[in-house]
Point group: D2
Chain length 304, copies 4
């Protein structure tokens, strides 16, 4: 069995690494946060000394880091993964980063006889806890087969989207739609509230037409409409993903006027201090800013 390096034990990375251990993978972990490392050590992982040593020891190194800056920091340079890994090793980057950064990483990896797989994570932190994440994977067929057992240990749904770089691109498209649905639903519900409609009737109709959507059906009734905006996925993170989407779209010359309008709405919400609540909470932000009563459904309500 391959020895796995795992760099980045944050809110998502830690449970993902834990699930790898639970499935018996030999693991060398690393993070600035010693407590997180200690937790993994307790589960049988080894604490890595530094990136170079992890790269030398492990044939697959997973990175789960905040942005392309950190990924490039651990991948590049004399002390980085690429300079120290054995030929044939794989960098499995599961961070959500600019796809052009993934392209650059891939080009540099190839020069070292290494390969890159981009496999960003879908769904929420609580899914990661339960090993129920979804992964969008960009990889050669051979590399995909190689990382598949790891992904199966961390999640329940794995999409092989195509060659390296397609995983991250697919995630951006997916998150663009998911975040935008929150905004669209929020505007619709604000209108319903201002019209004085019974929000349950409005929902019932929307559920029965082509206007139905995953955010409205699954996320909203359990989160913002139930008055619960503790974050699964925060407005700040949604805003960060939309920045990646728009950056990638502008680099590729794809006009996305609705994405831009959504981005600004989330920006206003952040300026008004709604950044740390669940992204469904954009519905509350919009209602509050426009002095409209928040939309709520009774506890336990479901559309009949």
């Amino acid at each position: 069995m391959e020895k796995i390096g795992f760099i980045g034990l944050g809110r998502m990375g830690k449970p993902m690494a834990a699930n790898l251990r639970k499935h018996g993978f030999e693991l060398v972990v690393m993070d600035l946060n010693r407590a997180a490392v200690a937790e993994l050590v307790e589960l049988g992982a080894r604490a890595g000394e530094n990136v170079a040593q992890i790269a030398r020891d492990c044939s697959i190194v997973v990175t789960m880091l905040p942005s392309s800056v950190e990924v490039e920091q651990v991948a590049l340079g004399a002390d980085g993964i690429f300079a120290n890994a054995a030929r044939g090793s794989v960098l499995l980057d599961m961070s959500t980063i600019d796809p052009l950064a993934t392209d650059r990483l891939e080009a540099q990896a190839r020069e070292h006889g290494l390969s890159v797989v981009d496999a960003p994570v879908g769904r929420l932190a609580e899914h990661a806890d339960r090993g129920e994440s979804l992964f969008m994977v960009g990889a050669s067929d051979a590399d995909f087969a190689r990382v598949k057992p790891l992904l199966d240990a961390m999640g329940t749904t794995v999409y092989h989207c195509g060659a390296v770089g397609t995983g991250g691109r697919t995630k951006l498209i997916n998150n663009y739609v998911a975040v935008t649905l929150c905004q669209v639903n929020a505007e619709a519900l604000a209108l319903s509230q201002r019209f004085g409609l019974d929000i349950r009737k409005t929902l019932q109709v929307l559920y029965g037409t082509s206007a139905s959507n995953g955010q409205l059906r699954m996320n909203f009734p359990n989160k913002v409409l139930a008055g619960d905006t503790t974050p699964g996925f925060t407005i700040d993170l949604a805003h960060k993903d939309m920045a990646l989407v728009l950056g990638a779209a502008h680099a590729a010359k794809v006009p996305m006027p609705v994405a831009a309008a959504v981005f600004e709405s989330f920006s206003l919400a952040r300026a008004s201090e709604y950044g740390r609540i669940d992204f469904s909470g954009i519905a509350d932000a919009i209602c509050d800013l426009a002095k409209i009563d928040r939309a709520r459904v009774p506890k336990g309500w479901t559309a009949s």
Copy 2:
């Protein structure tokens, strides 16, 4: 059984009236288009001479007209429905109009001892043909019970949204979301195309997350993605409905920045002569204008 007047035999009104006849309703019809009237007469309807006579003869008058201007023309004035109908009669307006116009009609109807029901129609023209429409109804409980048999003859799904005026308002909210989903999906697919992804992979992922939505699941694969943009519902009509949405939102002081961005995108498509194609065709318009290859899936494709 009540005698039914039916004014407005256009692309939607004609099959709706025909379905009323097929269910045995006694019908007096009217339209500027004599051929449409003749078709209904063939089915056993009587051709009304003028609005006043229809109002005197029928206890329920259905209107299915292009805008509030036409509805007010037939409802108001010395020769209109309100001045000539017997007390207790009902105006069942199934047009999609400004909800403030519905409110004005209702106030004037009440002065004549009449009542109004607003029951705009959901789904497409082909559903109307088959008697499979969806209705969003604003009515008192008594009036709802009274018009329900008519609605059941013309459609399969009837939502009683609340008092008079709630049917039209609910339809605007519903169409805002449905039209916006077309634009959101179009931007997402344009990005996928420019990224060089396999559109089927992108769709498969979107179908499996909270980004899933009715337009993407049901309408797109059968229409624009299959290269078929013959209209169910045109970009011009979607644009008209968005104008009603934004007008109502502005009157109610509800900011809808995404609705506004969608509206302008549809406006650009219309300026570039895409107005008469199916509203899913906004995906083609966006790709064409940005010089991106159109997104297509093979005939008969479904997400596995």
Copy 3:
């Protein structure tokens, strides 16, 4: 000298009529507000009994009314201007209305042997008080010559934009730019404030480049930046004009994504109860909503 009818003595109409009187025009006036009529009578005007009588008595009838609904009410119908005026008379409509309504009026006027001039008013109410208004005029050359003395009595700047309908269209374009400049400046100043820049330095730079604009140079320092948001021209009125702009643009198939974004920003400001302040106050609204300190310059400050 021609006898002049004047219908609509509101905040703008009253001083305009007064200035006509001061220049010796024979005037018959009308308004629902008796106090306003009394003021004009005191200045030597006659109070008209009804529209029909004014139309019969006067060879030029000025209308200065809130919207096309009111203008059409007084122009059309058996008791309206067109049915009662002598052939060769002129309707001088100075209201700001939908240009398509002007076109309809013009067509109907012609059938009665009458003509229409559209001459909406630029600048603020206080300019109207002082007879310093600006007029954008759509008229045949002959009609322009005929109404020119009246316009000269009420204002200082008269633009003959072309045939009937061009005055109102030009005003919409002008107000689109002027209102949008408020929003653009507001965003720029909010950014300057959040950046912690000295607002006077920012203004000094903007005044010295191609970013300079009339709103920033003339209106802002005297109004919002001086802490004075008593209205010259309210956010509500700016919003109303933008509705006319967007309505006309959509009818003409002209996409205006920036106009749409501005409109929504003003809509949010109105929803947050900034509607009745001066339209430069959009700068305060934007700062307040985003929790940014308002931009202010010291009293009497001017860019050196």
Copy 4:
């Protein structure tokens, strides 16, 4: 007199350096483009061997580079300016970059006993040729006094905006407004064209009201409206600056919905291959995309 290093001899940097030479400054220059270096050597400059040597030789080093990536490359690292310059030296960065990068540079310069001045350049390349640029300067008073003679040699207008970082921030605000004015004017002119108005009449009115702006008065009649879209400043560069504006605004939590709409309009123009024309050419792009006749004025026309 101080010895001046100058790194970056592109379309703007080369004439700026040349003007320094013309005013007698001792100059050591550097660029990847040997021809540009040779031109400066011909004017009496010395060709620098590498960044470290320039930093050791010169007490002021000017950088005029495409983005923060290049500026950080020459400033940081063992071979960079900061590691090699004598204490008390100044990095005069005249590039247009992310202001947060300027802040980072400043912090690192201080650790080496050095200081940073940010002085991005306003106006066009042809102004740089003639030594008529405008500079927005962020600097301590002492540093400002020190670099002032250089700036006076390269331009005619120098604004001291405040401490380090304020120059770049002011430029972003300025360019946001200037670029947005192009879009606003373009929408206004497209509407005028579609309305069938005489564009000269429209311009004449706009010039006479608070809608007047620098772009419309100075740039448009000499560029796009005269049919000349050879670039002063391209749509691509305007788009790049708007990306910096929006990036900085989002980092600072300032919602800018109009900036976002403008950005997308420029993005669409780029996707349709208008990227390399003058930014006033957005007026042509908008008209072309919406199938509206381009706005033009006769050669030599000026508003009377």
